[in-house]
């Protein structure tokens, strides 16, 4: 059985739901027995992106917001590779939103998994594109003024053929199933994983 773990112990906060995503990905890669030499994971910058150090697979730990176009480049250069993006709501829905839309329109066969905790947590808790209107954060002490991005509706609007899923990290088995379905899907797919930040997300409970 292929080992998909590096020797580095994950550094997420105790109780963080990033562990659920990490376990779900490990389970899926093992269950589907993907060719390790032909599997490339592109990580965005953010808490979930730190998974780069904890996985044994070809990878790019890209720049913040640029994981999706980087993955597009890999897939275009070598269509035989399985390409998976792991990022957060800040990188994928904020800094890199136009790239997400472009990749969905292209219907390129990559999987984008987003740990959506509605916050910028690696930078200690500022509002993100999915923070609900009115929520107070360190960067929005008077409350968020924008309405949030709704990722599934957005993807369906730009490309009805794309697979878009939304699952809560509070249900780890469903996370496993959704990751498996996403990785198996031919064409573009987005998996939006709802989660709560244990360190900076009190106001979102």
């Amino acid at each position: 059985m292929t080992n998909w773990r590096s020797t580095i112990i994950p550094t997420w906060c105790p109780g963080c739901q990033d562990y659920v995503i990490y376990a779900g990905l490990q389970n899926t890669l093992t269950k589907l027995a993907l060719d390790q030499d032909k599997t490339v994971i592109v990580y965005d910058i953010g808490c979930i992106g730190n998974m780069a150090d904890f996985v044994k697979a070809w990878g790019i730990h890209s720049l913040h917001g640029r994981s999706v176009p980087t993955a597009v480049g890999i897939k275009l250069a070598n269509p035989e590779l399985n390409v998976i993006v792991i990022g957060g709501d800040g990188g994928i829905y904020g800094e890199g939103l136009s790239h997400l839309i472009a990749a969905a329109r292209l219907n390129i066969d990559i999987t984008v998994i987003v740990a959506n905790n509605q916050l910028y947590s690696l930078t200690t808790g500022q509002s993100s594109p999915t923070t609900p209107k009115g929520i107070k954060t360190k960067s929005t002490p008077k409350g968020v003024e924008s309405v949030p991005v709704v990722p599934l509706e957005l993807i369906k609007a730009v490309n009805p053929e794309a697979l878009a899923q939304h699952v809560s990290c509070a249900e780890p088995l469903k996370v496993n199933e959704a990751i498996e379905k996403a990785v198996k899907h031919q064409g573009f797919d987005l998996l939006d994983l709802d989660q709560l930040c244990v360190s900076f997300g009190k106001q979102l409970r």
Partner: protein
């Protein structure tokens, strides 16, 4: 030395100036002449004032001239702003507009459409410079179609010339080597292709777009992929991802697009991914003057990207060098797994010359040794964080210091592979001209014609970064040192002074969006 001749055609956008310009260049090429061309146009699609000019000779020519021998205004009102380019011998043709009266409107009327003014003018020009008519008509027929009324238009222009003008005393072309007509962008595309380019990624931006068009058109024949994504940030990121997956990759843009790519230049250097950034300069800041020329991004290119890291910046001076350095850029990017920037400008990118047939040149390919997925190699993470050998993030003091030093050690190795300077003229000359990029042509053309040319040597720098510190000794050996740049802030001087002891006794700078013409350089040198 045979005389050089210059022809200029002017009129609004949409009157077919570019097509007959290219036809004229082709006819001259096939008649054994050497040529350089240049066109000016505003940033719009219809109307305005466009020009095409070509300078040719039976001997080698390095640049277009400012002064013209034949001028044609395709519609009335387009010669007036060019009066400084006319001498007493210039033949200026215009339709009932105070110059030699070429009745283009009336002749078009006889041919049944207003669109033939350009081809009529081409026929006249070919008559004046005594081209083999049958040869010219074959080229015109190939372009427009054998039964196109454009052939009648060409004939009408030629006949009008016979009835109204004397032929000019143009020496016959004598070059028999097969040459092709390419502009700097196409030459760059050929160079990248001959170094085994697998993927070209670009978002359109004048004056770099020609590379995108050329490679997109030829992608099947060249067995490569061309991608035009949502913005320049995606362009650079896609290129980095493709490079990681093992593709030989380049991108193309101008200053504004390059600004968006700089975070990725830094990423490439950190992760160890080779990508060529083709940067064709135009005047900034911001949108600036999109269709004009400048050498204003040298320091931007050299300093592009946050952090301290190795990169290479190369600057070809003409179409032949755009091919050579295009090839070298892609090989350097792959040999050292670094970002490589190739600097052009509007004057080189969009001007044509007749060159070696690049298609016949051999492919030269240096492979990257970095591990790639799918080839059974040891798995690696390509990381934007500081990292160890396997690619995992590190922050420890000793270890991070070591990897910084390891990365910077590449710089000396890169320097050994950079293109050498070109030194023209004698090293015993009294004065040295120092320049870079597309000013090469105007400087060589000026020196060709100067009676006191033995006084001058000319140093053309092509490896801009890392820069050879020995350049300082070469320059300092001359008693007068003259800097020529197509920018306002003498950026090459700043760059040289940051790396070596050097001073210039004279600076010739031009920053009005126009390239240098040899006449201006002659005058400034003798000033």
């Amino acid at each position: 030395m045979e005389k050089t001749w210059s022809v200029k055609i002017a009129g609004p956008a949409g009157t077919g100036i570019k097509s007959i310009g290219l036809l004229l260049a082709q006819i001259l090429n096939e008649s054994g002449y050497f040529l350089k061309d240049y066109s000016e146009y505003p940033s719009l699609v219809r109307g305005g004032h466009n020009t095409y000019q070509v300078t040719f000779s039976a001997d080698e020519v390095y640049s277009v001239h400012k002064m013209v021998d034949i001028f044609v205004s395709l519609v009335p009102g387009h010669w007036q702003e060019h009066q400084k380019e006319f001498s007493k011998d210039t033949s200026v043709f215009a339709d009932n507009d105070g110059k030699i009266n070429l009745p283009l409107g009336e002749m078009c009327g006889q041919l049944g459409s207003t669109i033939y003014g350009n081809t009529i003018s081409l026929g006249l020009i070919c008559y004046l410079i005594d081209i083999d008519k049958d040869k010219a008509k074959i080229i015109v027929g190939k372009y427009f179609g054998e039964d196109s009324p454009n052939l009648d238009a060409f004939e009408a222009g030629w006949q009008w010339g016979e009835n109204n003008c004397q032929k000019l005393a143009v020496d016959k072309g004598k070059n028999t080597k097969k040459m092709i007509i390419v502009d700097g962008n196409e030459a760059t595309g050929w160079g990248l292709h001959k170094a085994g380019l697998d993927m070209f990624v670009a978002y359109p931006m004048t004056p770099a777009t020609g590379v995108l068009h050329f490679l997109a058109k030829n992608q099947d024949e060249f067995k490569m992929k061309v991608v035009h994504p949502e913005d320049e940030i995606a362009v650079a990121s896609i290129a980095s991802g493709a490079s990681m997956a093992g593709a030989r990759t380049a991108v193309g843009t101008s200053g504004g697009g390059f600004a968006l790519m700089t975070e990725t230049i830094s990423f490439d250097a950190q992760a160890g991914l080779g990508v060529v950034y083709f940067l064709s300069q135009r005047p900034g800041p911001a949108t600036g003057m999109p269709t004009w020329t400048s050498q204003g991004d040298l320091l931007f290119a050299v300093h592009s990207g946050h952090g301290e890291f190795p990169k290479a910046v190369l600057a070809p001076g003409d179409q032949e060098e755009a091919f050579e350095l295009g090839k070298l850029s892609l090989n350097l990017a792959n040999k050292f797994d670094i970002p490589v920037i190739m600097l052009s400008d509007k004057n080189l990118s969009e001007s044509s010359a007749n060159t070696t047939d690049f298609e016949k040149e051999k492919e030269e390919k240096i492979e990257s040794l970095k591990p790639k997925p799918g080839k059974g190699q040891k798995i690696k993470l390509y990381n934007s964080y500081e990292h160890n050998d396997e690619g995992f993030s590190i922050e420890e003091a000793e270890e991070s210091k070591k990897v910084v030093e390891l990365r910077l050690k590449k710089i000396n190795e890169i320097l050994k592979e950079m293109p050498k300077v070109n030194l023209f003229g004698s090293d015993r000359a009294k004065k040295i001209i120092v320049s870079w990029g597309s000013t090469k042509g105007a400087i060589l053309e000026a020196l060709k014609e100067m009676p006191n040319k033995e006084e001058f040597a000319f140093l053309q720098i092509r490896g801009m970064w890392p820069i050879d510190p020995k350049i300082g000794q070469i320059i300092s050996a001359f008693s007068e040192r003259i800097l020529i740049e197509n920018n306002a802030m003498a950026q090459l001087e700043t760059l040289l002074k940051s790396q070596m002891t050097i001073d210039f006794t004279k600076r010739i700078l031009k920053y009005d969006g126009r390239p240098f013409f040899p006449e201006e350089i002659k005058e400034a040198l003798n000033d």
